[in-house]
Subunit: 398 residues, 2 copies
């Protein structure tokens, strides 16, 4: 018999996916250039040339049996060492290779982190607005994801609601800064306060509470914004990283788990990741990609286009009268819709070939997300559509 | 708190891994050339040149954003279509792309298959001798792996024991032909009889019983041996394939699930695989590897070396008086040890720098495995060590 649990999931298509398919279809009708598709968080700038050169060099000159051979289950030792050294240099940490576990993207890293620190029935808290895939990611492990309502003033943490929900069954707190979908970077003050509350509750409850820090947007931070390295502020931190966004290679599935050396169980957790892999069929990211990424750890794709796009949109949106917290990073912006129901608002926007995603999907009704990882030229052209849409549907709101 | 379930697994190191580490250490002492390391099933012949050329060509000439972009969750459509066409051509099947799910190696494919057709508490039967990783693979899903004792005469299926164990809770039967560790290929007669029994029991119990067919060695079949394509004999078959062995790229993590189109739930199962991925952090094999493999689907590495090695070992072993079923494929041979406890036998062999793996690990005590995916020149030199070992420890047994 096929599994009823997974069969039941087949109906539920993601709103983002439906909108993206709509955009593709509409593009076939009127030309994709004329569809302002802000639905998908897919990098739009090329991988650094050094990555490509390094791949070609290895393919030409390495022994193929060792190049394409099995990676040890925790990752290739030289790659783990290079990542540890790079993080130490950049963030003042003291990782060794024994604190790094290679994973196939952030999804793979998170799949290990959840299992390492929870058992079925335990709770993980996350904060709205949040990446909706966290629901299947966590709930299919048997743990339970609970969502703390947003602080819509700043999209930092709603601490009152958080403290109310931080019961004894909470074993981990899942954060994502810079944040998808708000684009907000958690301030040092936010992280200090979060760490402080967690340490107190660890004492009160007599068990660990981990921070699982999902950091795929860590390198996409805009001018003047400081993005604190979460692990510096809290010993029991498990950082989950992906190179998808910083190097523009989301399809190649490469990232890692880094456990703070100050965490008493750090090495145990990394070794446990190797065991968790056996149950979920993971078995390491591709060897050649591990080796190539290790050569460009401190490079990024040219991420400046995202900041250019953000400024164009932010100025236009606020000029039109939208309420909008200015993003500190990522390639998302999360303004308040011009009517209560953001689903209706986004539905109306479709008439102007603007593909916007209602905030309901992210646990934050009344707002909408724009993923501006598209060409700047297209962002510029979309502003006229945005102005037309607002004027026609909502009149002068300024 | 770290997960006690995974923490408890940390002690149990695999015997194969321990022996392989011993071989490496010994190699550092006396030169790796002098250690006859038959412990690991790691391909020893290079990937076909066409694969390397195709990778370089794409890296040089493709748009990097699309080359390294996200794969759809079931795999890249053109790749799925190419695999279906290749299987249809070679095995007379009628797969469409909708029956193929791209997975990161056989481990990834199996992780999806188990979850698609069992729920916690269900049973999966497999047949000794068997790949020991099946234990964590299955048991960490919540289903229960039960092992049917071997037919040591032929290493085909022990049908009496099988029928006794085929109770109502069995939802799937996991087979591996050509087999690791025996090297045996299931005959058409074996597969017909297996299929027949399963169909009867499906009727009797009123529920599906799936064959999960783990086929990483499908292309490594020796002269004169016919390896039937399992799915042709049984509608409810889920084939799990990996290119690790046929193309010699185990580190690149590429394979697929192919569900027999005659299975009434075939398309549902493939779509469910996409949902299962969300819970286990899978998210597709690397895009560039999917695209490159699609170009060399009908090629293999030069696998003939394995047959050469097998014949050398088989002749020597039988000449020395070993009881040994002749392998029909793979790069393994599984002779009977010269004393009851194969662990003691293999321990003694270490004195002669022969690294052999006791069959206990494979659910078949009294036998031992040799993985002869090493250079032929080394196999040749190992024969003298083998003769010396047998003469010194067991005298003339011929």
């Amino acid at each position: 018999m096929v599994s009823e649990q997974y069969r039941a999931m087949l109906g539920g298509k993601s709103v983002i996916r439906i909108l993206s398919e709509f955009a593709t279809k509409r593009g076939e009708e009127i030309g994709y250039d004329n569809v302002f598709d802000y639905s998908l968080g897919n990098p739009s700038v090329p991988v650094p040339e050094e990555f490509t050169e390094c791949m070609i060099e290895m393919l030409k000159n390495s022994d193929p049996c060792s190049l394409h051979g099995y990676s040890p289950s925790l990752g290739i030792p030289s790659v783990r060492a290079a990542i540890a050294a790079s993080l130490n240099e950049r963030f003042g940490m003291n990782y060794g290779p024994e604190h790094i576990f290679m994973a196939s993207g952030a999804a793979g890293a998170l799949a290990h982190a959840y299992r390492a620190v929870t058992k079925p029935g335990d709770e993980i808290l996350t904060f709205a607005p949040y990446f909706p895939e966290y629901n299947p990611y966590v709930n299919l492990t048997g743990a339970v994801l609970k969502v703390v309502p947003p602080d819509t003033e700043s999209f930092q943490i709603n601490f009152d609601a958080f403290e109310e929900m931080l019961g004894e069954k909470v074993m981990a707190v899942l954060i994502n800064t810079p944040n998808n979908p708000s684009g907000i970077v958690y301030s040092e003050e936010t992280i200090l306060r979060l760490a402080d509350i967690l340490r107190k509750k660890e004492q009160e409850y007599g068990h660990d509470i981990f921070i699982i820090s999902d950091e795929p947007y860590r390198e996409i931070v805009f001018a003047g914004v400081k993005a604190p390295y979460v692990s510096r502020y809290y010993a029991n931190t498990i950082s989950c990283y992906s190179y998808s966004k910083s190097l523009s290679l989301p399809g190649e599935r490469i990232g890692y788990v880094a456990v703070n050396p100050a965490c008493p169980d750090a090495e145990v957790i990394v070794n446990m990741c190797g065991q968790i892999s056996r149950g979920i069929g993971h078995n390491c990211p591709p060897s050649i990609i591990q080796l190539a990424v290790a050569k460009v750890l401190d490079k990024t794709a040219d991420l400046s286009v995202y900041e250019t796009n953000m400024n164009l949109l932010y100025d236009c949106l606020t000029g039109l009268g939208f309420t909008c917290v200015k993003p500190g990073g990522t390639f998302y912006i999360f303004p308040k819709a011009l009517e209560e129901d953001a689903k209706i608002f986004c539905e109306k926007a479709l008439k102007y070939d603007l593909i916007l995603v209602p905030g309901d999907t992210f646990g934050c009704p009344g707002y909408f997300r724009m993923a501006y990882c598209i060409e700047t030229e297209k962002v510029e052209r979309s502003l006229a559509a945005l102005r037309k849409f607002v004027a026609a549907e909502y009149g002068n709101i300024g």
